[in-house]
Amino acid sequence: MLSVAALNQYYGESHTLWDLCLDIPAGASVALMGRNGVGKTTLLKCIMGLLPARSGEIRYEDRSLTALRAERRAELGIGYVPQGREIFPMLTVEENLRTGLRARGDKSKRIPEEIFEIFPVLKTMLRRRGGDLSGGQQQQLAIGRALVLRPKLLILDEPTEGIQPNIVSEIGDVIIRLNRARGKEIHFEKREPSVGDEIRDAIVRVNREMGVTVLLVEQKQHFVKRVADRFLVMDKGRIVAGGAMEDLTEDLVRRYLTV
C-alpha cells in the first residue's frame, strides 16, 4: 500500500530523517512509536507531502507520490489527522468538514451522514466555529474531517491527545472498525442501553467493508496494543524495529521508548 525508501529530510541544516524505509501492506493497522522528537510527525508530513523530502521515494498503491503535491495525495485517498488537530479556527464545524468534499471526487455536496454517526457531538455543534470547540471536540472534528475524504489510507498523529477516556476507546473502536482488515470482531459489552451504545452500533454499521489502512502515531501503549496489529519503532530519524504487535517486547520498549 505505502512504501517509503531511503527517505532523507532536513529542517534547514538539521538532518531529521535518515535513509528511512518502511512498508505498510494494504489493510494493515500500523502503530509508529518513538520518543518525543525522533521525527514521527516529520515522517508523516513527508508522506502527506507537507514537507519536502530531500531524497528518497514514497510509493502508494504502486505509484510514486514523490512528485505529487499534497492535495493530489489527498485525492488519492490519504486522510491526515495532524498532531495538534489543526482545525480551521474560523470555519464552523460544518465548514471544516466540507473542506474535504472536493477531494472525494464524487462531486458530493453533502457531508456523509456516517461522520455524525461516529461523532454525534459534531452534529450538535455544526454552526459553532472550530476554534471555539474544546480540545477534545476539536480532535473528534479532525478525525471526522479526514473521514470525509473517504480515505483508503488514514494517517493519525497522536489522535488521543487530550481526549476523554470513553471517547479514546471509541476512537480506538473507530480505527479498528475502519481498518477491519484483521477481521477481528469487535465486542461491545452490552450493558444498559445508552447513547454510547447507539454510537457503537452505528460504527459497526458504518463502512463494514471499508478496510482502511491505518498509520498511527501514538504514545499510549495500551491503546496501541488494542488498535494496531503491527508496530514500527523510530529513533533518531530511523526505523529501528518493527513487526507484529505481539513482538513488541519489553526490551524494545525500554530501549527506544523510555526516556
Binding site: M48, G49, L50, R69, A70, E71, A74, E75, Y80, P82, E86, I87, F88, P89, M90, L91, E95, R98, T99, G100, L101, R102, A103, R129, G130, G131, D132, R145, L149
Partner: protein, 547 residues
C-alpha cells in the same frame, strides 16, 4: 410621482434629431430680411450679437429656430473664403457643412477654413429665452417645459402674454403647472391685493425655487424698516406659504443628504470590497489595490477609445474588460510575488508597495501623466428629478445600484461556489488545507484574481466620478483600508455596512463642519470606535479569533 425628466443633454440630442427635417427645407429668400439678419449675425461683435439675434428672430422665418439652436450649440460657422453661413457637424478630418440659406450640403472642410460664430454666456441665456418664445408651441412637452422655464426667467409683458395664451391650449399637466407658477409669480407684483393673495395661494407648496424667493421678498423690510409688502393679509398668507414650502424642503433636503451619504458610501464600498477579499480574507496587505482600480479606470478609457461611436454601451464592455484585466494582473502579482510570501503577511506590504509604484509609473509611461478624459454616457448624465427640490444625480444613482449588485454577486460567488470556503480554509491553515485536498495554489490565484478583478470593476465606476490618472489609486487606498478595518476584517457585510455608515455620517457632518473637518471627525470617530470595538463593526469573536 410625476414623470421623470432626464438630463439636459439627452434633451438636446432629442432636439437635434427633431430639427433635422426643418433644417433641410429651410430655403429662404437670399435677398430677404432673413438673409440680411444672418449676415449681421456673422459680422456683429460679441457685444452686438444680441441685437443681431433679436433681429433674426423678428423675421419669423421658419429657419430661425434651427439657426438659433445651432448658434446655441456652437454649430454655426461661416466660411472664411466666401462668407457663407453654414451648419457644421464634426466629421472625419474636419466638419461636414450645410449652407443655412439653401440647405445645400457643401461637403467636408477643415477647421481652419471656417470661423465659428461664437457666443457667450449672457447671450446663451438670451438665446434660450428667444428660443423659448419661439418654441412655446413645440410638439414635445419636454421642449415646451424648457421653453416655459427659460421664459420665466424674465417675465416681461410680452412673455406673460405668450404664456397666458399658451395656458388655455396647453395639454400637458407638467407644462401647465409650470405656466401657472410663472403666471402666479408675475401676479405677485400685481397692484390688486386679491390677485396677490390668489397668486400666493397658487404658489403654496410649490418647489420652484423662484417661488420661495419671491415669497420671502414679500416678508422683507426695506432699509427704513418698512415692509416691502404693505398689506398684512398678504404677508400672512405669504408667511403660511413659506412655512409650507420650507417644511417640504426640509424633508427633501434630508432625503438628499441620505442619498449623498449612500452614494459616497457606495464609492467607499466599491473601493474596499476587493480589498475585503485580498486583505480581509487572504490576509495580504495589498498596497497595490488602488492601482488595480486605476487599471480598471484606464480600461474604461481604452474601451471608449476603441469604440468611439458607442459611448452608451461602452461601460458594459468596460466592466467585464476591466474585471478581466485587473484579475489577470492580480493573478500575475499573486503568482509572481505574493505566493512566496504566505505566512509573512507584513512583507506583502513591502512587495505590493513596490508593485504599486511600478504600476503607477507604468501607466504614466504608457498614457502620460495627464488625466484621461472618460466620457459619461448620456444615460448616466444629469439627474433623476423627483421634484423641484430633490433630484438624484444619475451617475451616482447607478453607481449605488451597481455597488449593491457587485456586492450581491460577490456574496453569491463566495457562498455558492466552493471557492468561498476554500479560500478561508487556505488563509487559516495553508498546510492543513492542502492535506484536505484543496489545491491551494489555484485557490490563491483565483481568489486574488477575484479581489483584484473587483477592484478593476470599482475602477470603472470611479472613472465616472473622478480623475482617471496615475494617482487614482493612491487617493482611495487609505480609505479602503479604513473601511475594511472599520467593518471588521474578514467580514464582507462589515465592509458594506461600514462603508455606508461612514458615507452617511460624513455627509451628515459636512454641512455643519465643512468638508475638511467632517473628514477629520470621521477619522477621529474611527479611532475612537476601534477602542470600543477593537475588532471592528462585526468582529470575529471568541476563542477562535484569539489564536
Amino acid at each position: 410621482m410625476r414623470p421623470l425628466i432626464f438630463g439636459m443633454r439627452r434633451w438636446c440630442i432629442a432636439m437635434l434629431i427633431m430639427m433635422m427635417p426643418g433644417l433641410c427645407n429651410a430655403a429662404a429668400d437670399p435677398g430677404g430680411p432673413f438673409a440680411d439678419a444672418l449676415a449681421r449675425l456673422k459680422e456683429a461683435p460679441l457685444t452686438e450679437l444680441g441685437e443681431a439675434v433679436d433681429r433674426l428672430a423678428e423675421t419669423n422665418d421658419p429657419a430661425v429656430v434651427p439657426v438659433l439652436r445651432a448658434l446655441l450649440d456652437g454649430r454655426l460657422y461661416y466660411r472664411k473664403d466666401d462668407g457663407r453661413v453654414v451648419f457644421g457637424d464634426p466629421a472625419e478630418d474636419g466638419l461636414a457643412i450645410v449652407d443655412v440659406l439653401d440647405g445645400e450640403a457643401l461637403g467636408i472642410v477643415g477647421k481652419f477654413d471656417l470661423k465659428k460664430i461664437g457666443i457667450n454666456n449672457a447671450l446663451r441665456t438670451r438665446l434660450r429665452e428667444t428660443l423659448g418664445r419661439l418654441e412655446l408651441a413645440a410638439d414635445g412637452p419636454a421642449q415646451r417645459l424648457k421653453a416655459v422655464e427659460a421664459m420665466s426667467k424674465s417675465l416681461d409683458e410680452e412673455n406673460l402674454e405668450l404664456l397666458r395664451a399658451r395656458r388655455d391650449t396647453e395639454t400637458d399637466a407638467k407644462v401647465s403647472e409650470a405656466i401657472e407658477t410663472a403666471l402666479a409669480l408675475a401676479d405677485l407684483a400685481s397692484d390688486d391685493k386679491a390677485v396677490r393673495i390668489a397668486a400666493i395661494n397658487a404658489l403654496h407648496g410649490s418647489l420652484n425655487p423662484q417661488a420661495l424667493n419671491r415669497l420671502h421678498q414679500l416678508l422683507e423690510k426695506d432699509d427704513a424698516g418698512r415692509f416691502l409688502e404693505p398689506d398684512s393679509d398678504v404677508r400672512n398668507s405669504a408667511q403660511v406659504a413659506v412655512k409650507s414650502i420650507e417644511s417640504k424642503l426640509t424633508v427633501y433636503r434630508a432625503a438628499e443628504t441620505v442619498f449623498f451619504g449612500l452614494s459616497l458610501g457606495a464609492v467607499l464600498v466599491l473601493a474596499s470590497i476587493g480589498l475585503a477579499i485580498t486583505f480581509g480574507v487572504m490576509g495580504v496587505i495589498n498596497m497595490a489595490h488602488g492601482e488595480l482600480m486605476m487599471l480598471g479606470a484606464y480600461t474604461t478609457y481604452v474601451v471608449q477609445q476603441l469604440m468611439p461611436g458607442h459611448l452608451d454601451i461602452s461601460l458594459f464592455v468596460a466592466i467585464p474588460a476591466a474585471f478581466l484585466l485587473s484579475a489577470l494582473v492580480g493573478i500575475a502579482i499573486e503568482r509572481g510575488i505574493i505566493r512566496f510570501l504566505y505566512g509573512r503577511p507584513l512583507e506583502t506590504l513591502l512587495a505590493t508597495f513596490g508593485v504599486s509604484l511600478f504600476l503607477q509609473q507604468l501607466v504614466r509611461t504608457i498614457f502620460s501623466p495627464l488625466n484621461r478624459s472618460v466620457a459619461t454616457p448620456v444615460w448616466m448624465s444629469g439627474s433623476l428629478e423627483i421634484n423641484g427640490a430633490l433630484s438624484l444625480t444619475l451617475n451616482r444613482f447607478y453607481i449605488l445600484v451597481f455597488c449593491l449588485m457587485v456586492f450581491a454577486a460577490l456574496l453569491q460567488v463566495l457562498k455558492r461556489s466552493r471557492i468561498g470556503l476554500e479560500v478561508r480554509a487556505v488563509a487559516q491553515n495553508r498546510a492543513m488545507a492542502k492535506a484536505m485536498g484543496i489545491p491551494t495554489e489555484r485557490v490563491d490565484a483565483l481568489t486574488f484574481g477575484l479581489g483584484s478583478g473587483i477592484a478593476g470593476v470599482a475602477g470603472v465606476a470611479l472613472s465616472q466620478l473622478t480623475n482617471v490618472g496615475p494617482n487614482l489609486g493612491q487617493s482611495y487606498i487609505v480609505d479602503s483600508f479604513m473601511v475594511v478595518v472599520f467593518g471588521g476584517v474578514g467580514n464582507l457585510w462589515g465592509t458594506l455596512i461600514g462603508g455606508f455608515s461612514l458615507g452617511i455620517a460624513n455627509k451628515l457632518l459636512e454641512p455643519y463642519a465643512g468638508a475638511v473637518l467632517a473628514k477629520i471627525l470621521m477619522l477621529v470617530f474611527i479611532i475612537l470606535f476601534i477602542q470600543k470595538r477593537p475588532r471592528g463593526l462585526f468582529p470575529q469573536k471568541g476563542r477562535a479569533a484569539e489564536a
